[in-house]
């Protein structure tokens, strides 16, 4: 790697540490989203508001099909919103006159079923972002990718294709792919949904380690209440479709956290508190027999 490139990378890491805590504030104000497939109006999100502080690890929970993914899609710029505004660090992402946010490397999504490009190796996937943005040359991007993959414990798998590694490893690689771009917000859409309990707990620890290191704002959607309380700073409970903010639970458990937290009294109480709120909504959703909005 050239001197310049090494210096550039040093720069970027430094930026991470200083700028981290002042960036990534999400402000969602009275957002409403109405879908109109084939002339049928579906109200997905109904005047939902929430404020996410910079560097906050925020968890979004709610019953299936309630519209949580719609919110995430709106923030990421995949869908438009019908009314309301979303701000990122006081800059308008989308709102009146600009219904769809521009997609960008400041808000990167980690997808539910994994979206590592199957035709690129893990390292090539990770290197993709800096390379297409022109931030690093191909060579340097690949070097940095290998380095970051090694940091995440995936060093020997850099040259493998996503189809050759386990889903846990693929998901971790996807998170590395996001982080190499120093995003302001990391958007996670039920990333560990399809995993068994053991793999999940490893994923949790890995994610916590990453968060402690980078303090990036995380917007994490999940069904799993224990996951929510274990990982997050604040848990936002949403109602059934159309979703509104029902309750905010503050998780005061100190960091760094480890699996011993799971058996603590405080943890149990928090889970109960959240569960009471979610359970009602879950029953409503079950009665409506909703299919999930993708």
């Amino acid at each position: 790697m050239t001197q310049q490139a090494a210096a550039k990378m040093q720069d970027m890491s430094a930026q991470v540490h200083t700028a981290r805590t002042t960036k990534g504030a999400l402000s969602i104000r009275n957002v409403t989203k109405i879908y109109d497939p084939e002339g049928v109006n579906i109200l997905a999100v109904d005047s939902c508001s929430m404020e996410v502080a910079p560097g906050e690890f925020c968890m979004i929970v709610g019953p299936s099909g309630c519209g949580k993914t719609t919110l995430l899609n709106a923030i990421a710029g995949f869908h438009s919103i019908t009314s309301g505004e979303i701000f990122l660090d006081r800059k308008l992402l989308c709102g009146p006159g600009k219904p769809t946010a521009a997609q960008g490397a400041d808000r990167i999504v980690v997808f539910q079923n994994g979206a590592l490009f199957p035709w690129k190796t893990l390292a090539q996937n990770v290197a993709y972002g800096p390379m297409v943005q022109g931030v690093l040359s191909k060579r340097d991007a690949l070097d940095k990718a290998h380095e970051m993959l090694a940091e995440a414990g995936l060093g020997e798998f850099g040259g493998k294709y996503p189809g050759e590694v386990s889903s846990g490893m693929a998901r971790r690689a996807e998170i590395v792919r996001a982080l190499i771009n120093n995003p302001k917000v990391l958007l996670l859409d039920e990333p560990y949904r399809a995993m068994d309990g053991l793999t999940k707990s490893i994923m949790h620890e890995a994610l916590l380690e990453v968060y402690d290191r980078t303090k990036v704002t995380i917007f994490f959607i999940t069904h799993d209440l224990e996951e929510a309380i274990f990982l997050g700073d604040r848990v936002y409970v949403l109602t059934t479709r159309p979703c509104r903010l029902k309750k905010v639970v503050n998780v005061d458990i100190p960091r760094p956290r480890n699996y011993e937290v799971l058996s603590s009294e405080q943890f149990r109480l928090l889970v109960e508190e959240t569960n009471d709120a979610v359970h009602e909504e879950a029953i409503k959703a079950f009665r409506l027999g909703e299919r999930e909005l993708a």
């Binding site: 990421a76 710029g77 995949f78 997609q103 960008g104 490397a105 808000r107 990167i108 999504v109 997808f111 079923n113 979206a115 490009f117 199957p118 035709w119 690129k120 993709y128 972002g129 297409v132 943005q133 294709y161 996503p162 189809g163 050759e164 792919r177 996001a178 771009n181």
Partner: protein, 297 residues
């Protein structure tokens, strides 16, 4: 594949080495030989050959006696001075094969060179697809051979119309499959690329093209088959050289042995070209080959 998994997870103490390519092949062969499958295969083929032989040469059944049996066929095919003029030793046999194959290569090259970009572009731009697709779909139901008279009118000589027909047939298949390939790419990949700051040209080269490759290659395999189909028909209708012509001429001259040799050769060459395309596809799509291997395929 199990051996490989054990070898990597067993750690430093493992004395199991992952089997190398030759021993792996041998292992697979031995395993296969223990199942009844290969013996049944031989049985099936032998049964077929024997029945054919009995029907046409030994018992001389009413309709079958007109067709050459396998023995007669092989005698001529392998003879250095064949009675009917076509065998592995005659030059003209290879000329026919080469001429047909060359036409296929040209048709395939043109069809792929036009069809893949066309399909990619139709998948990429909805506007373009809205204009181009209806024209394609309106022309496609017209059978290729129905174009023969028009082809003869439009193109001078003999080679051009024949190649035109084969190209047209391939073009439909290639374009459609490429289009399908692009449309089959999961939306998430496009979204991920967008999140990561890609410009449109990045998306095209890094997502669309590789993502569509599996369908493109399936299409290419089919298009080779379709090209042969059309080529043979065209050669039969109006010909001077080539396997289709050979078959037709043998028919006209009532010599059945070269006729059947022609047919069998055609089958083989068709299969071979298809297999070549499939191989090329596997080479270009290493990621798929490796992932499928892990699934035991």
């Amino acid at each position: 594949m199990n051996n490989h998994a054990i070898a990597t997870t067993a750690g430093a103490d493992s004395k199991l080495a992952a089997p190398t390519r030759l021993s792996l092949t041998w292992y697979r062969l031995k395993k296969k030989l223990r199942t009844p499958t290969p013996y049944l295969m031989v049985l099936g083929l032998t049964l077929w050959m024997v029945t054919w032989w009995l029907f046409s040469e030994v018992w001389k059944l009413p309709r079958f006696e007109k067709m050459p049996g396998p023995v007669v066929l092989l005698k001529d095919w392998l003879a250095s001075e064949p009675f009917y003029g076509i065998s592995f030793f005659t030059e003209i046999y290879y000329e026919h094969i080469w001429i047909s194959t060359r036409r296929i290569l040209i048709a395939f090259a043109i069809a792929t060179g036009l069809g893949v970009p066309l399909g990619l572009f139709m998948g990429w731009s909805k506007k373009f697809k809205d204009y181009a697709f209806p024209i394609l779909e309106t022309l496609r139901p017209i059978p290729i051979l129905a174009w023969v008279p028009l082809a003869i009118l439009m193109f001078k000589g003999f080679e051009a119309p024949v190649i035109f027909l084969a190209t047209l047939a391939s073009l439909y298949v290639t374009t459609l499959n490429t289009l399908l390939g692009v449309e089959s790419i999961d939306e998430s990949y496009f979204r991920a690329a967008g999140c990561l700051g890609s410009k449109p040209r990045h998306v095209f080269f890094h997502i669309v093209v590789p993502g569509a490759l599996p369908f493109i290659f399936t299409g290419l395999q089919i298009s080779v088959g379709v090209a042969w189909f059309s080529l043979v028909a065209a050669e039969m209708v109006s010909g001077d050289y080539g396997l289709g012509y050979l078959i037709m001429q043998s028919y006209v001259n009532s010599v059945t042995v070269p006729l059947v040799i022609g047919m069998v050769t055609l089958g083989f060459v068709g299969w071979f070209t298809s297999a070549l395309v499939r191989r090329a596809g596997n080479l270009m799509m290493q990621w798929r080959v490796r992932a499928l291997a892990l699934e035991g395929r």
